[in-house]
Amino acid sequence: MAALSQLVDDVVVSTFELTGPRIEIGRRAGCDLRIDEISVSGQHATIEVENNAYLDGAVDYFITDNDSTNGTFINDVRMTGRQRLNSHDRVRIGWNLFRFIDEDENSLEKTAYILEE
Protein backbone atom coordinates (compact mmCIF):
# COMPACT_ATOMS: atom_id res chain seq x y z
CA MET A 1 0.00 0.00 0.00
CA ALA A 2 1.24 3.47 -0.87
CA ALA A 3 0.41 6.80 0.71
CA LEU A 4 1.03 10.53 0.44
CA SER A 5 2.07 12.05 3.75
CA GLN A 6 1.74 15.81 4.04
CA LEU A 7 4.75 17.48 5.60
CA VAL A 8 4.88 20.77 7.45
CA ASP A 9 8.36 21.72 8.62
CA ASP A 10 9.40 18.11 7.88
CA VAL A 11 6.75 16.74 10.24
CA VAL A 12 3.97 14.48 8.96
CA VAL A 13 0.67 16.20 9.67
CA SER A 14 -1.62 13.88 7.71
CA THR A 15 -1.45 10.75 5.59
CA PHE A 16 -3.65 9.83 2.64
CA GLU A 17 -3.69 6.24 1.43
CA LEU A 18 -3.66 5.88 -2.34
CA THR A 19 -6.29 3.38 -3.34
CA GLY A 20 -6.83 3.22 -7.09
CA PRO A 21 -7.50 3.20 -9.82
CA ARG A 22 -7.54 7.06 -9.87
CA ILE A 23 -7.00 9.64 -7.18
CA GLU A 24 -7.97 13.19 -8.05
CA ILE A 25 -6.05 15.86 -6.16
CA GLY A 26 -7.25 19.44 -6.01
CA ARG A 27 -9.08 22.25 -4.25
CA ARG A 28 -12.49 21.43 -5.71
CA ALA A 29 -15.06 19.63 -3.58
CA GLY A 30 -15.30 16.03 -4.72
CA CYS A 31 -11.56 15.53 -5.17
CA ASP A 32 -10.33 12.34 -3.50
CA LEU A 33 -7.49 14.26 -1.89
CA ARG A 34 -8.87 17.74 -1.28
CA ILE A 35 -6.40 20.49 -0.42
CA ASP A 36 -8.27 23.66 0.41
CA GLU A 37 -5.42 26.07 -0.07
CA ILE A 38 -5.02 28.98 -2.49
CA SER A 39 -2.02 27.67 -4.45
CA VAL A 40 -3.86 24.49 -5.40
CA SER A 41 -5.91 24.39 -8.60
CA GLY A 42 -9.42 22.95 -8.69
CA GLN A 43 -8.32 19.72 -10.35
CA HIS A 44 -4.60 20.04 -9.80
CA ALA A 45 -3.20 16.56 -10.42
CA THR A 46 -4.20 12.94 -10.85
CA ILE A 47 -2.55 9.78 -9.58
CA GLU A 48 -3.27 6.55 -11.46
CA VAL A 49 -2.62 3.18 -9.84
CA GLU A 50 -1.71 0.43 -12.28
CA ASN A 51 -0.41 -3.11 -12.04
CA ASN A 52 3.06 -3.33 -13.57
CA ALA A 53 2.81 -4.98 -16.97
CA TYR A 54 6.06 -6.92 -16.58
CA LEU A 55 6.45 -7.73 -12.91
CA ASP A 56 3.74 -9.73 -11.15
CA GLY A 57 2.61 -8.15 -7.90
CA ALA A 58 4.31 -4.81 -8.51
CA VAL A 59 2.12 -1.71 -8.61
CA ASP A 60 3.02 1.54 -10.32
CA TYR A 61 1.76 4.97 -9.25
CA PHE A 62 1.77 7.55 -12.04
CA ILE A 63 1.11 11.24 -11.39
CA THR A 64 -0.07 13.73 -14.00
CA ASP A 65 -0.29 17.49 -13.52
CA ASN A 66 -3.57 18.78 -14.98
CA ASP A 67 -2.15 22.07 -16.29
CA SER A 68 -2.32 23.52 -12.77
CA THR A 69 -1.51 27.18 -12.23
CA ASN A 70 1.24 26.71 -9.66
CA GLY A 71 2.52 23.35 -10.83
CA THR A 72 3.36 19.94 -9.43
CA PHE A 73 6.95 19.34 -8.42
CA ILE A 74 8.66 15.98 -7.94
CA ASN A 75 11.83 16.32 -5.88
CA ASP A 76 11.84 20.07 -6.59
CA VAL A 77 11.57 19.65 -10.36
CA ARG A 78 8.39 20.93 -12.00
CA MET A 79 6.91 18.00 -13.82
CA THR A 80 5.46 17.82 -17.29
CA GLY A 81 3.58 14.89 -18.74
CA ARG A 82 3.07 11.75 -16.68
CA GLN A 83 5.65 10.50 -14.23
CA ARG A 84 6.09 7.36 -12.14
CA LEU A 85 6.38 7.97 -8.41
CA ASN A 86 9.14 6.21 -6.47
CA SER A 87 9.07 5.67 -2.74
CA HIS A 88 10.34 8.69 -0.77
CA ASP A 89 9.75 11.11 -3.65
CA ARG A 90 8.88 14.60 -2.45
CA VAL A 91 5.68 15.72 -4.19
CA ARG A 92 4.78 19.39 -4.04
CA ILE A 93 1.23 20.39 -5.01
CA GLY A 94 1.40 24.15 -5.35
CA TRP A 95 2.92 25.13 -2.01
CA ASN A 96 1.92 21.93 -0.23
CA LEU A 97 4.63 19.35 0.35
CA PHE A 98 4.01 15.60 0.55
CA ARG A 99 6.20 12.54 0.71
CA PHE A 100 5.21 9.52 -1.36
CA ILE A 101 5.79 6.27 0.49
CA ASP A 102 5.36 2.83 -1.11
CA GLU A 103 6.12 0.21 1.51
CA ASP A 104 5.91 -2.59 -1.05
CA GLU A 105 9.02 -1.23 -2.76
CA ASN A 106 11.11 -2.37 0.17
CA SER A 107 10.28 -5.99 -0.53
CA LEU A 108 11.95 -5.84 -3.94
CA GLU A 109 15.45 -7.21 -3.79
CA LYS A 110 18.23 -4.69 -4.13
CA THR A 111 20.56 -7.07 -5.94
CA ALA A 112 19.96 -8.30 -9.46
CA TYR A 113 17.65 -11.22 -10.02
CA ILE A 114 15.97 -12.90 -12.90
CA LEU A 115 12.29 -13.42 -13.57
CA GLU A 116 11.99 -17.20 -13.59
CA GLU A 117 9.87 -18.65 -16.38
Partner: protein, 248 residues
Protein backbone atom coordinates in the same frame (compact mmCIF):
# COMPACT_ATOMS: atom_id res chain seq x y z
CA UNK B 1 42.62 -5.40 -40.74
CA UNK B 2 44.12 -6.90 -37.62
CA UNK B 3 42.24 -7.42 -34.40
CA UNK B 4 43.48 -6.89 -30.91
CA UNK B 5 41.69 -7.27 -27.56
CA UNK B 6 42.14 -6.50 -23.89
CA UNK B 7 40.00 -6.67 -20.78
CA UNK B 8 39.81 -6.01 -17.08
CA UNK B 9 37.56 -7.18 -14.27
CA UNK B 10 37.41 -5.63 -10.79
CA UNK B 11 35.41 -6.50 -7.69
CA UNK B 12 34.30 -2.85 -7.26
CA UNK B 13 34.11 -0.94 -3.99
CA UNK B 14 31.05 -2.42 -2.28
CA UNK B 15 30.84 -6.14 -3.04
CA UNK B 16 32.74 -8.88 -1.21
CA UNK B 17 32.81 -11.27 -4.16
CA UNK B 18 33.42 -10.92 -7.88
CA UNK B 19 30.59 -12.51 -9.82
CA UNK B 20 31.69 -11.19 -13.23
CA UNK B 21 33.73 -13.26 -15.64
CA UNK B 22 35.46 -11.99 -18.77
CA UNK B 23 37.28 -13.82 -21.56
CA UNK B 24 38.62 -13.16 -25.02
CA UNK B 25 40.67 -14.85 -27.72
CA UNK B 26 42.12 -13.66 -31.04
CA UNK B 27 43.05 -16.01 -33.88
CA UNK B 28 46.75 -16.47 -34.57
CA UNK B 29 46.52 -14.42 -37.77
CA UNK B 30 44.60 -11.62 -35.99
CA UNK B 31 41.64 -11.91 -38.36
CA UNK B 32 39.00 -13.16 -35.95
CA UNK B 33 38.22 -12.40 -32.31
CA UNK B 34 35.86 -13.73 -29.68
CA UNK B 35 35.07 -11.81 -26.49
CA UNK B 36 32.71 -12.43 -23.59
CA UNK B 37 31.42 -10.66 -20.46
CA UNK B 38 29.15 -12.54 -18.02
CA UNK B 39 27.64 -11.06 -14.86
CA UNK B 40 26.47 -13.73 -12.46
CA UNK B 41 23.79 -13.52 -9.77
CA UNK B 42 21.97 -15.71 -7.32
CA UNK B 43 23.82 -15.79 -4.05
CA UNK B 44 27.38 -15.40 -2.88
CA UNK B 45 28.74 -18.49 -4.57
CA UNK B 46 26.13 -19.03 -7.28
CA UNK B 47 26.85 -15.90 -9.29
CA UNK B 48 30.52 -16.69 -9.56
CA UNK B 49 29.85 -20.24 -10.69
CA UNK B 50 27.16 -19.27 -13.21
CA UNK B 51 29.22 -16.57 -14.94
CA UNK B 52 32.34 -18.74 -15.02
CA UNK B 53 30.38 -21.70 -16.38
CA UNK B 54 28.81 -19.57 -19.09
CA UNK B 55 32.08 -17.95 -20.11
CA UNK B 56 34.04 -21.22 -20.08
CA UNK B 57 31.41 -23.03 -22.09
CA UNK B 58 31.07 -20.50 -24.89
CA UNK B 59 34.85 -20.09 -25.11
CA UNK B 60 35.31 -23.86 -25.22
CA UNK B 61 32.64 -24.25 -27.91
CA UNK B 62 33.64 -21.31 -30.11
CA UNK B 63 37.42 -20.97 -29.78
CA UNK B 64 38.04 -23.82 -32.28
CA UNK B 65 36.09 -21.78 -34.85
CA UNK B 66 38.63 -18.97 -34.60
CA UNK B 67 41.11 -20.87 -36.77
CA UNK B 68 38.82 -21.22 -39.79
CA UNK B 69 36.11 -18.63 -39.21
CA UNK B 70 32.42 -19.10 -39.88
CA UNK B 71 31.21 -19.70 -43.45
CA UNK B 72 28.35 -17.25 -43.26
CA UNK B 73 26.28 -15.24 -40.80
CA UNK B 74 23.57 -17.87 -40.40
CA UNK B 75 26.10 -20.57 -39.57
CA UNK B 76 27.86 -18.26 -37.13
CA UNK B 77 24.63 -17.39 -35.32
CA UNK B 78 23.73 -21.06 -35.07
CA UNK B 79 27.12 -21.89 -33.58
CA UNK B 80 26.88 -19.05 -31.07
CA UNK B 81 23.34 -19.99 -30.10
CA UNK B 82 24.37 -23.65 -29.71
CA UNK B 83 27.19 -22.57 -27.39
CA UNK B 84 24.82 -20.42 -25.31
CA UNK B 85 22.25 -23.23 -25.15
CA UNK B 86 24.96 -25.61 -23.92
CA UNK B 87 26.03 -23.09 -21.26
CA UNK B 88 22.42 -22.76 -20.16
CA UNK B 89 22.07 -26.54 -19.87
CA UNK B 90 25.20 -26.77 -17.75
CA UNK B 91 23.96 -24.03 -15.43
CA UNK B 92 20.63 -25.84 -15.10
CA UNK B 93 22.37 -29.09 -14.27
CA UNK B 94 24.33 -27.46 -11.45
CA UNK B 95 21.20 -25.68 -10.19
CA UNK B 96 19.36 -29.02 -10.05
CA UNK B 97 22.19 -30.85 -8.34
CA UNK B 98 22.93 -28.23 -5.68
CA UNK B 99 19.97 -26.69 -3.82
CA UNK B 100 22.12 -23.81 -2.58
CA UNK B 101 22.73 -22.82 -6.18
CA UNK B 102 19.13 -23.18 -7.32
CA UNK B 103 18.72 -19.46 -8.04
CA UNK B 104 21.96 -18.84 -9.84
CA UNK B 105 22.05 -17.34 -13.31
CA UNK B 106 24.08 -14.99 -15.41
CA UNK B 107 23.93 -12.39 -18.12
CA UNK B 108 26.06 -12.89 -21.18
CA UNK B 109 27.26 -10.58 -23.91
CA UNK B 110 29.43 -12.05 -26.64
CA UNK B 111 31.05 -10.49 -29.70
CA UNK B 112 32.47 -12.40 -32.63
CA UNK B 113 34.47 -10.37 -35.18
CA UNK B 114 35.60 -11.48 -38.60
CA UNK B 115 35.84 -9.85 -42.06
CA UNK B 116 35.29 -6.33 -40.62
CA UNK B 117 31.96 -7.43 -39.20
CA UNK B 118 30.91 -8.04 -35.64
CA UNK B 119 28.14 -10.38 -34.55
CA UNK B 120 26.88 -9.62 -31.04
CA UNK B 121 24.74 -11.96 -28.96
CA UNK B 122 23.37 -11.17 -25.53
CA UNK B 123 20.95 -12.01 -22.75
CA UNK B 124 20.48 -9.72 -19.76
CA UNK B 125 21.84 -6.25 -19.09
CA UNK B 126 25.51 -6.64 -19.93
CA UNK B 127 26.09 -4.44 -22.94
CA UNK B 128 28.08 -4.03 -26.13
CA UNK B 129 28.90 -0.62 -27.58
CA UNK B 130 30.61 0.48 -30.79
CA UNK B 131 33.10 3.32 -30.41
CA UNK B 132 33.83 4.85 -33.81
CA UNK B 133 36.03 7.93 -33.52
CA UNK B 134 34.35 9.72 -30.62
CA UNK B 135 30.88 8.41 -31.43
CA UNK B 136 29.58 5.80 -29.01
CA UNK B 137 26.61 3.64 -30.03
CA UNK B 138 24.91 1.09 -27.79
CA UNK B 139 24.39 -2.08 -29.82
CA UNK B 140 22.43 -4.13 -27.27
CA UNK B 141 19.09 -3.56 -25.59
CA UNK B 142 18.89 -4.40 -21.88
CA UNK B 143 16.63 -7.36 -21.07
CA UNK B 144 15.16 -5.69 -18.00
CA UNK B 145 11.75 -4.69 -16.66
CA UNK B 146 12.96 -1.09 -16.56
CA UNK B 147 13.95 -1.14 -20.25
CA UNK B 148 10.53 -2.56 -21.15
CA UNK B 149 8.96 0.38 -19.31
CA UNK B 150 11.19 2.86 -21.12
CA UNK B 151 10.19 1.31 -24.44
CA UNK B 152 6.46 1.49 -23.67
CA UNK B 153 6.79 5.10 -22.46
CA UNK B 154 5.94 4.41 -18.80
CA UNK B 155 9.21 5.95 -17.63
CA UNK B 156 12.09 7.87 -19.19
CA UNK B 157 15.66 6.64 -19.52
CA UNK B 158 16.68 9.18 -16.86
CA UNK B 159 14.28 7.58 -14.37
CA UNK B 160 15.76 4.07 -14.70
CA UNK B 161 18.38 4.44 -11.93
CA UNK B 162 15.59 5.37 -9.47
CA UNK B 163 12.97 2.69 -10.13
CA UNK B 164 12.95 -0.04 -7.48
CA UNK B 165 13.05 -2.94 -9.92
CA UNK B 166 15.92 -1.62 -12.03
CA UNK B 167 17.86 -4.85 -11.34
CA UNK B 168 15.16 -7.25 -12.47
CA UNK B 169 16.17 -9.08 -15.63
CA UNK B 170 13.60 -10.47 -18.02
CA UNK B 171 16.08 -12.84 -19.66
CA UNK B 172 19.32 -14.47 -18.61
CA UNK B 173 21.06 -17.83 -18.62
CA UNK B 174 19.66 -20.07 -15.93
CA UNK B 175 16.15 -18.61 -15.79
CA UNK B 176 14.49 -20.92 -18.29
CA UNK B 177 15.14 -23.84 -20.62
CA UNK B 178 15.02 -21.48 -23.57
CA UNK B 179 18.11 -19.25 -23.52
CA UNK B 180 17.58 -17.67 -26.91
CA UNK B 181 19.97 -14.77 -27.38
CA UNK B 182 19.30 -11.49 -29.15
CA UNK B 183 21.63 -10.98 -32.10
CA UNK B 184 22.97 -7.80 -33.63
CA UNK B 185 25.50 -7.00 -36.34
CA UNK B 186 27.72 -4.06 -37.14
CA UNK B 187 30.57 -3.22 -39.46
CA UNK B 188 33.97 -2.30 -38.05
CA UNK B 189 36.15 0.31 -39.75
CA UNK B 190 39.86 0.56 -38.94
CA UNK B 191 40.24 2.08 -35.48
CA UNK B 192 36.74 1.15 -34.35
CA UNK B 193 36.41 -0.48 -30.95
CA UNK B 194 33.81 -2.76 -29.44
CA UNK B 195 33.24 -2.26 -25.71
CA UNK B 196 31.68 -5.17 -23.82
CA UNK B 197 30.84 -4.40 -20.20
CA UNK B 198 28.85 -5.37 -17.15
CA UNK B 199 26.41 -3.00 -15.43
CA UNK B 200 29.07 -2.17 -12.85
CA UNK B 201 30.60 0.14 -15.45
CA UNK B 202 27.38 1.57 -16.87
CA UNK B 203 26.07 2.16 -13.36
CA UNK B 204 29.16 4.04 -12.23
CA UNK B 205 30.23 6.09 -15.26
CA UNK B 206 27.87 7.72 -17.77
CA UNK B 207 28.55 6.16 -21.13
CA UNK B 208 28.67 9.56 -22.83
CA UNK B 209 31.90 10.21 -20.89
CA UNK B 210 33.69 7.07 -22.06
CA UNK B 211 35.24 8.42 -25.29
CA UNK B 212 36.99 11.24 -23.42
CA UNK B 213 38.05 8.90 -20.62
CA UNK B 214 39.59 6.45 -23.09
CA UNK B 215 41.11 9.02 -25.46
CA UNK B 216 44.37 9.76 -23.59
CA UNK B 217 45.30 6.09 -23.19
CA UNK B 218 47.60 4.76 -25.91
CA UNK B 219 46.85 1.05 -25.59
CA UNK B 220 43.64 -0.98 -25.27
CA UNK B 221 44.84 -2.24 -21.87
CA UNK B 222 45.26 1.32 -20.66
CA UNK B 223 41.85 2.32 -22.01
CA UNK B 224 40.21 -0.55 -20.12
CA UNK B 225 42.19 0.42 -17.02
CA UNK B 226 41.03 4.02 -17.22
CA UNK B 227 37.37 3.00 -17.50
CA UNK B 228 37.66 0.68 -14.50
CA UNK B 229 39.70 3.16 -12.44
CA UNK B 230 37.18 5.95 -12.94
CA UNK B 231 34.28 3.65 -12.08
CA UNK B 232 36.13 2.81 -8.83
CA UNK B 233 36.70 6.52 -8.21
CA UNK B 234 32.93 6.88 -8.55
CA UNK B 235 32.49 4.19 -5.86
CA UNK B 236 31.24 1.51 -8.28
CA UNK B 237 28.69 -0.43 -6.27
CA UNK B 238 28.93 -3.56 -8.39
CA UNK B 239 31.68 -5.63 -9.97
CA UNK B 240 33.12 -3.81 -12.99
CA UNK B 241 34.11 -5.61 -16.19
CA UNK B 242 35.30 -4.32 -19.56
CA UNK B 243 36.54 -6.10 -22.66
CA UNK B 244 37.71 -4.06 -25.64
CA UNK B 245 38.19 -5.34 -29.19
CA UNK B 246 39.79 -3.08 -31.77
CA UNK B 247 40.21 -3.28 -35.49
CA UNK B 248 43.54 -1.74 -36.58
Amino acid sequence: MTLTAAGLCDIGTKRDSNQDTIAWAVSDDGQRALSVVADGMGGYEGGEIASQLASDTVMEALTPLLASGAQDTATLQDRIQDAITLANKRIHTVRSDHPKLSKMGTTLVLAWVQNNQACIAHLGDSRCYLLSGKTLTQLTRDDTVAQNMVDDGSITLEEVPRVPFRNVLTRALGSSDDARASFGHTNLAPGDRLILCSDGLTGAVTDADWPDIMAPAPSLEDQARRLVDISLDHQAADNVSVVLVQSI
